[in-house]
Point group: C2
Chain length 452, copies 2
């Protein structure tokens, strides 16, 4: 907390020390004379109930219990956890046990191994039954320019659970997109109803862990939850507009889409690339996740044909501009024509070399700044979704210089509201998840409310 820069007062409590990190240290919670808002508890499991009682007596409103060794490990632990539940009922809220706590940049608070998390707030919330993901998601997300309102690792959820958090985040003005990693829910019907409600106004992107046989077994020994049947969860996702994702990467990819492309609504896309094989793969990848790549009208095809070389290209959709190093004016013309006359909802640009990724490409570097700028200008001028794919081409330890150049361009696009993906498959899936949200939201709302 100190190195993260918490601005309020901090009172270490420890019976054996009089000073910790230069702060006056108290033997017991009750010894602190000033009022305290929140406690973070890390004592061994057996001692936790007593400490929470002391916090209650002190008038502390909420605590987080980081300690593990409760319901998830034994009957004895189960009993300890039941004690916590009884204490909570007397008027104190408990996050955990078996968790990493809360990251809330606006409040200057971070989770246990989160001293390096960004200090700035952002519009995304993440609730996680897993402590590990409460670290990995914000850490990786930060590199994608994603910033958080609140991240809550809530572990065993003995008191504050996923439903309470959803209710809170629905009202939280700081939060625009809700994301979560969930293993099991405490109250299925309440959770389902809330999910339906909340996702009417804010997208809820959920990664449900433990849907397979051995996954459910792992859930049990992790947070002591029941994983739930895959069929039940299928129905939950179908009957709410919550967005289902199956990996950390898909969670972040989809969040990026909601941050930069909402309210995108359609499924019609045009992949634009600099190579024929790539346009084939782009079509396959888009169609496999439920996007469509509609054939362009003849008029537009003719127009596009006048902008690209005559051989080794394609203008029917996808558009193959013939080389990963097109002239900036040609790429600009293609993107503008497609977005104004192509009847598509978004363009995905892949296999255009926006950065020098290998030594042999240095000769092509003359107009790179200009080429990089094209998608930004087009997106601004036409205010339509443009998505970039910038794969890691230079993979070895000896190619780090090129990876640095690629990352700089990624950061630039992200700063301009253009989402960037590592592969075309991932870009397509994120767009499909985005479109699916609006489709289901419209279908679920009353007929009089539903748009096109």
């Amino acid at each position: 907390m100190l190195s993260f820069g918490y601005a309020g007062k901090t009172y270490p409590v420890n019976p054996r020390e009089s000073q910790i990190l230069g702060l006056k240290t108290y033997s017991r919670v009750g010894d602190i004379t000033e009022p305290v808002d929140f406690a973070s508890i890390t004592v061994p499991a057996q001692a936790v109930p007593e400490i929470v009682e002391e916090c209650l007596a002190k008038g502390i409103k909420a605590v987080q219990v980081l300690t593990a060794g409760f319901r998830e490990i034994s009957e004895e632990g189960q009993k300890l956890e039941e004690q916590l539940i009884s204490i909570a009922a007397k008027g104190i809220r408990i996050i955990g046990p078996n968790c990493f706590g809360v990251y809330c940049p606006a409040g200057g608070q971070t989770i246990l191994p989160g001293e390096d998390f960004p200090r700035e707030s952002g519009p995304v919330a993440f609730i996680s039954q897993s402590g590990g993901y409460a670290v990995r998601v914000p850490r990786q997300a930060s590199g994608w320019g994603i910033r958080f309102s609140k991240v809550v690792s809530y572990g065993n959820a003995c008191d504050v659970n996923e439903c309470d958090l959803l209710e809170y985040l629905r009202e939280d003005a700081e939060t625009r997109v809700i994301t979560g990693y969930i293993e099991g829910v405490k109250d299925g019907p309440r959770f389902f109803k809330l999910l339906q409600e909340v996702s009417k106004t804010k997208p809820v992107i959920l990664w449900k862990g433990g849907l397979t046989h051995s996954g459910a077994r792992a859930v049990h020994s992790h947070t002591g939850s029941l994983g739930g049947e895959e069929a039940v969860w299928d129905a939950v996702f179908k009957q709410s507009s919550a967005i289902r994702v199956n990996s950390l990467e898909e969670l972040l990819d989809t969040t990026l889409a909601f941050l930069h492309l909402a309210p995108y609504r359609g499924r019609k896309v045009c992949p634009v690339g600099g190579g024929g094989g790539i346009t084939v793969a782009a079509s396959d990848a888009c169609e496999r996740v439920g996007l469509s790549v509609p054939l362009f009208p003849t008029q537009l095809q003719k127009k596009l044909a006048s902008m690209v070389p005559p051989a080794g290209t394609s203008v029917r959709n996808p558009v193959d501009v013939g080389s990963p190093f097109p002239l900036p004016a040609a790429l600009r013309g293609v993107l503008e024509a497609v977005l104004t006359e192509g009847g598509v909802d978004a363009i995905i640009v892949d296999e255009i070399e926006m950065s020098i990724s290998t030594p042999s490409m240095k000769g092509f570097g003359g107009n790179h700044g200009e080429l990089t700028q094209v998608p930004v200008d087009v997106k601004k001028r036409l205010d339509k979704p443009v998505v970039m794919v910038l794969p890691v081409e230079a993979i070895g330890a000896d190619a780090l210089e090129f990876e640095g150049a690629r990352r700089n361009i990624c950061d630039y696009y992200l700063s301009q509201g253009i989402p960037v993906y590592l592969t075309l498959e991932r870009a397509a899936k994120a767009l499909a998840n985005l479109a699916g949200y609006y489709e289901r939201r419209d279908a679920i709302s009353s007929p009089s409310d539903s748009g096109n």
Copy 2:
């Protein structure tokens, strides 16, 4: 060719120049007095047939035609291509047209934009109907330590086609694993029969592009091929032991598995990680692709429990060692116990911090070299498959230093015969593809040949 370091003689042919890059230049092919083995043709499409005729007259055995603008673009182009076919019939082999040619490090030859490809040979062949992938696959593969015997971009395949190449590679002593990107085949029955034959002795990893509706449309304007029905291709993959992949990443991941883990045979795995959520996701990811995560015998569970902290861990399979920074001795103990008593075919190690990926982790760095070494030692001692997952955690342009450290560790593992994957999902899919190959190969071979 010159900057790649071709060691033989090179004869530029150009009617307007007497010297190119310091080499004596000939007006016509026939003017060269010495014998010539191979020609690379880049003249405009209309002039190609005449030049190939000249090569034939000169006694050249084979040519590659890089020029585009044949069958894939117009009827006129189709006629030009038919001329090439007639000339080939007279006794010269043609690769292309509409291709990037051949990369063969042993022969000092590379494809058009491949001057930066590795000079060393390796056991992997790649045949590609797409020129773009003939560049991207070797370039990315090189960062994963994969080296090639031959890469052939064969484009429209007017003469030398995928079947000829498969036949060649079956006999090629340099090639142990065959990979390919294919859009359409010339002779379905011959291709299918060859695939069955070849994959009895060498794995054939195939990415078939254009299996969706719009993908097939894109195939037509790319290499003038017919894409073929998905159902037909499903049957081809089921009835041969060829390995089907759906993206460039999966092709490389699977290749890595064959290079380092063959002859791996089973589907039973144990994910080992440093976090409970991760073991849940590992179980899900493994089961979703058809691997199994069998519950460990009580005896082994007890043994493992004695090696990891009592709370916040799991020993039933997957194994959660409780922290991404385990003591080296504890990780060693776990890996050895699992490989000797767990009855699994492979271990997948995920979420163990083998490199310092963030500033806050620097405090944990004391025994890093020792921790990194554990999987290498265990794999060597027990000679059983160990697979590493080393995700890119530090994504932003400001975190390049950590990415550098991660890549160094990747390179080290690859040099020790341990495949490395970027995500657990990708590791699991590669292992499933590997296991599937041996299963189908055994099932297809005669009953008297089939093993367990």
